[in-house]
């Protein structure tokens, strides 16, 4: 079904919350404005209280947000084409972190190097993680989703949940159930300090990798033939096929692209947080999916924007000192946000009105 709450039958026969659509929209708008005003007031108050802390927390938000953005794009690409929530995507991300660990730390021993050698090792690990995750994501699509493309909608969704369990527990089978961790890889020296707290290479590298990746992605999607084929497939699969586009390959390409970004995200995560575990992708995957929905699912820029917003929310909530709910409520806040968006603005911040294929 669609978001057809406004159909006459549904509206007339709904005894609970039987508001007219217009009244509901207006109430939602007022409520949203009020909520936004409170949040802005809270942020300003916090900034006035301790501007240094605020700046530091904001920078942390950018760092975490970069990771969410990288993962969120994978969700949005796949959803844009198949209208499928690829639950396994978060676990592809976990694999990215683990492959980075295997290649960069276990095999090439990044922790013992510095300078150009360290750069080379990290570049090799990044490449391996991206290629591995792209291949993995394409394989997941080929094995688990392709046969179900014309099945009822819930079938591929349930399969995706199954794949998520397979991928995360496969990590547990290979790496064990405990954290793998490494000492910090990058030079510890601060690039600059805010209120005695350092902003170092570990945070800068996140941006140094994320920003060019996102720029490259936009070029690939907007300028190349592959990107064009993918967008055409997302718009109308049958018409794209009639125009001579190999739809299967375009879908594979979307999965590969999303997987590569998840791999890069996993690399960034491991370098920044220096640890990883089999269930890493669950929380980050959910946050990233929330980011994709927040920005308007199917919209790449929206997913990036949503990722950064979630990063800010997480860090403002756990890092600010004046009346913040604290880190033990972060997940609840993010999910409540997700629910509010889905209920009141399902097309997200930047998204178009969603199609209503049922």
């Amino acid at each position: 079904m669609g978001t057809n709450v406004g159909t006459a039958a549904a509206a007339r026969r709904r005894p609970i919350l039987a508001f007219s659509a217009r009244l509901r929209a207006r109430a939602a708008a007022i409520l949203g404005a009020l909520l936004l005003a409170i949040v802005v007031f809270w942020l300003v108050e916090n900034a006035v209280h301790d501007i240094r802390q605020f700046a530091l927390v904001s920078l942390n938000g950018v760092t975490n947000g970069s990771i969410y953005a990288l993962v969120a794009i994978g969700y949005t690409l796949v959803y844009g084409i198949l209208e499928l929530i690829n639950f396994a995507h978060g676990d592809v991300f976990s694999w990215g972190a683990m492959i980075t660990y295997s290649v960069g730390i276990s095999w090439l021993g990044a922790a013992g190097h510095s300078g150009l050698a360290l750069f080379g090792i990290l570049a090799a690990a990044l490449l391996c993680a991206a290629v591995f995750c792209a291949t993995l994501n394409m394989a997941v699509e080929r094995v688990a989703y392709r046969r179900l493309r014309n099945a009822p909608r819930l079938a591929p969704l349930i399969t995706a949940i199954g794949m998520s369990f397979v991928l995360s527990n496969a990590i547990a089978a290979v790496y064990g159930f405990n954290y793998v961790s490494t000492e910090p890889l990058l030079p510890r020296g601060a690039l600059f300090t805010i209120g005695g707290q350092a902003y170092g290479w570990d945070k800068l590298i996140v941006l140094l990798i994320t920003v060019p990746t996102l720029a490259g992605l936009v070029v690939v999607v907007k300028r190349t033939r592959w990107g064009k084929a993918m967008r055409a497939t997302a718009q109308n699969r049958d018409a794209a096929r009639l125009m001579g586009i190999d739809v299967d390959r375009a879908i594979s390409f979307a999965f590969g692209l999303g997987g590569a970004l998840a791999g890069i995200g996993g690399f960034v995560y491991l370098v920044y947080f220096t640890q990883g575990r089999f269930d890493l992708g669950f929380r980050i995957g959910l946050f990233a999916f929330t980011a994709a929905v927040l920005g308007g699912i199917g919209n790449i820029l929206g997913a990036a924007l949503g990722g950064y917003l979630i990063g800010f929310i997480e860090n403002y909530n756990s890092g600010l000192t004046w009346h913040a709910p604290g880190p033990s409520w972060t997940e609840s806040l993010v999910f409540i946000l997700l629910i509010l968006i889905l209920v009141f603005r399902p097309h997200g911040l930047l998204g178009e009105t969603l199609s209503t294929r049922s």
């Binding site: 039958a9 026969r13 209208e83 014309n150 349930i158 397979v166 159930f177 299967d248 409540i336």
Partner: protein, 400 residues
């Protein structure tokens, strides 16, 4: 996909045979505690669950049957069913333990000695209250979210499934009030039982099941709950409401056009599913004597969902079989298989550790090979099997 059929039997005979089979199975289940204690040899007890494990298996089967109202009948994918398990568990903890000792000693048919501090209601009442509370929670969650499309609903329910354990974990200091005891959870929860008064009147009915030799009374309670849930499933399925659910599952827009009130019907399926989830949660908690937020992970939701998928989405008997089978595998079969495997090959593999890997593979394989489950419902089979095949033919005919 081949569907197993009984060969050359008329539909009436087949119905009669399957009814006989079901009656026999339930008779066997009812006498299982005696059989297990007396006649089963050691080789079988290695593979068969004892009564307390069998209790847990049946209690989880109730959850599977409850989720079937939501996923099977109304076609709404709920990935946060554990929320209702949690609600039932905590209501049981609140109404039958010393959590609210400050409230003085409130007892109403409780199974503890008179004068024990805290609230102690009759466990039967506790289960009912827990179920109703869960149903109300289901309505509260359902009203804002059930108008969402299927996959969005899945993610929102998943969100609720995460929020509620976090709320429980942080609920030891809600404005200074300790509601949930935080991550320690609730302990010292009363056992099931008929209470002292009933016990004095009829001596065969124990005052507290925990005083009995084994968990057979718990087992029978769970079995009774399974039977009640199955009866409710069948009666509701064949009612006007059940037909409305199936209509919504098949085609929401068409159902709305035919005058099915979408929101009310969906909310009812959600509430009824929550009702049985809460009852099962309360029952499990009353037997375990404790509950904590760690018990409410997404994995429980997925586990229960697997029962529904494995058994046959929308088919009561399929889900019952799927529930018993999967819960058996989880609580006994994997251990037994692991032990046998290790003793045969001299290895030391912790097979249950990989249970969720196995479930993941099972979900994927089932959706790919036999999406209609072990015992499919006829309508669901038609929907899942025929339609894709036709479309595949069309797709292959098109130029690649």
């Amino acid at each position: 996909v081949n569907v197993v059929r009984l060969p050359s039997a008329s539909p009436a005979l087949r119905t009669r045979l399957s009814r006989l089979l079901i009656a026999l199975v339930f008779c066997a289940l009812a006498v299982y505690p005696w059989l297990y204690g007396k006649y089963l040899t050691t080789i079988l007890t290695q593979w068969l669950p004892d009564t307390s494990t069998a209790f847990v298996i049946l209690a989880f089967t109730v959850m599977g049957l409850g989720l079937n109202f939501v996923v099977g009948y109304a076609g709404l994918l709920d990935l946060g069913y554990v929320a209702f398990f949690a609600a039932g568990a905590y209501v049981a903890g609140w109404l039958a333990s010393e959590q609210f000792a400050n409230a003085g000693s409130v007892s109403f048919g409780g199974t503890v000695l008179p004068g024990t501090p805290g609230i102690h209601l009759s466990p039967w009442l506790v289960i009912l209250v827990a179920a109703v509370f869960s149903a109300i929670l289901g309505v509260l969650i359902g009203v804002p979210t059930l108008r969402l499309r299927g996959d969005y609903l899945a993610i929102v329910t998943l969100g609720f499934g995460e929020i509620i354990p976090q709320f429980v974990r942080n609920g030891d200091n809600l404005g200074g009030f300790n509601l949930t005891n935080g991550s320690f959870g609730l302990n010292g929860i009363d056992g099931m039982g008929f209470g002292n008064r009933v016990h004095h009147a009829i001596h065969t009915l124990p005052a507290n099941f925990l005083n009995e030799l084994d968990s057979r009374w718990y087992y029978w309670t769970a079995l009774a709950l399974v039977v009640v849930t199955i009866l409710c499933s069948i009666l509701l399925r064949d009612s006007r409401l059940g037909r409305a659910w199936i209509a919504i599952r098949e085609d929401e827009d068409a159902a709305a056009a035919m005058g099915v009130p979408l929101m009310r019907t969906k909310t009812l399926s959600y509430a009824i599913g929550a009702f049985f989830g809460g009852a099962a949660g309360a029952l499990i908690t009353l037997q375990a004597g404790a509950t904590s937020p760690d018990a409410f992970s997404l994995q429980v939701s997925i586990f229960v969902l697997c029962m529904v998928i494995l058994g046959g989405i929308g088919n009561v008997w399929g889900v019952t079989l799927g529930g018993i089978l999967l819960a058996y595998v989880n609580y006994k079969g994997l251990f037994a298989a692991g032990n046998t495997f290790n003793s045969t090959f001299g290895t030391n593999v912790d097979v249950p550790e990989y249970s969720y890997l196995i479930y993941g593979v099972a979900i994927v394989l089932f959706m790919l090979v036999r999406p209609e489950g072990l015992i499919p419902s006829a309508r669901r089979r038609a929907e899942l099997v025929d339609e894709p095949e036709e479309e595949n033919v069309a797709a292959e005919g098109a130029p690649a």
